[in-house]
């Protein structure tokens, strides 16, 4: 009755939504936003290096960053950060055993606030300038 092949796809199963309940989706989104934000953080630091190269390099970059594509990307970062932060609050509370029986409602709340926050930012960014 022994077998050794683990019946899972490992890494890919983190993001497999099959048969997942709300908490599973919270986890999937949390992990995706984590990977995205980590990538953004290091990219951001690299870009800010242009600050040290003097005003011209930086101002050129800012001008380029006014394109809608950059705005959408920036919005994505904001949405990811909002979700990761709000869900993080939920996870911290849960980790101290606060509100675990209501973890689903807390997830829905985090999601709702993320959507609202993203819409507000989107409105500001697209109407600005």
């Amino acid at each position: 009755m022994k077998a050794d092949k683990h019946n899972s796809k490992g890494f890919w199963d983190w993001f497999n939504p099959a048969g997942r309940d709300a908490g599973g989706w919270a986890f999937i989104l949390n992990r995706l936003s984590a990977l995205g934000l980590a990538f953004y953080l290091y990219l951001h630091l690299f870009v800010l290096g242009k600050l040290a190269q003097g005003p011209d390099a930086f101002d050129q970059f800012v001008a380029a960053a006014k394109s809608p594509l950059y705005t959408v990307g920036e919005l994505l970062v904001i949405a990811a950060a909002l979700y990761h932060g709000l869900n993080g609050v939920r996870l911290v509370l849960n980790s101290f055993n606060i509100g675990v029986p209501r973890q689903k409602q807390m997830f829905y709340t985090a999601l709702l606030l993320t959507v609202i926050g993203t819409i507000i930012f989107a409105a500001r960014m697209f109407t600005a300038s």
């Binding site: 683990h6 199963d13 983190w14 599973g24 055993n97």
Partner: protein
Amino acid sequence: MWKITYRIRRQKGDEASHYDTFQVEVDPEEYVLDGIEKIWAFEDRSLTFRHACHHSTCGACGMRVNGVEKLTCITKIKDVTQDGGTLTVDPLRNFPVVSDLVVDLGPLYRKMEAVHAPPVHPLSMTPWEGEDIRPPKEVPTPPEGGEYIRLPDCLECGICISACPVAASDPDYLGPAPLAAIQIQGLEGHPELLALADSQQGVWRCHSAFECSAVCPSSVDPGWRIMDLRRQVTARRLKTIIG
């Protein structure tokens, strides 16, 4: 009687897995396991599946029904499909597949042993769950004295491990049922359990997907217990710096 289709994942030896379909006539009041047994009895004798008690006290018949982990012996057919519908049955995830729907639960049993999960315990130790059920206030005692002994709620069915995304990539993670067994015993006076809980394969590896609690057929609520264990470890560790 309903006519439904069972779509069952098959795998023998090292061959690649595939699905076989079987049309069966079932009573919708019957359970998913009854239909599988019927297929074995009348359609395909080579089908292998685990089962024993047929009423959710042994934990042998955990499978995935339409993608979700279920004890098939207590899952009514009418609750997961309709007349003319299809039922997809897969083996549990995150365990090695022996054959067809049979997985090797050995890794789980070894972990339960490593955390000394008690196979029977006094009634007063009956775990309270979430915020709903507290232990009975007055525990009736048999006339011989002592206390009633009962089997624990956890069936060691592996369903929580199958649903856990962390267990999907890390077979060494203790996982929901063993961590719940630590919580039920308590950390007081069990330094070895504290060490296991507060380790790389312990409570910190949980990423709070709460899938274990969503699928647990026996109200163990492992997700809640892991969070409670975190709170306990946190309190202990913070106390050490405060003095």
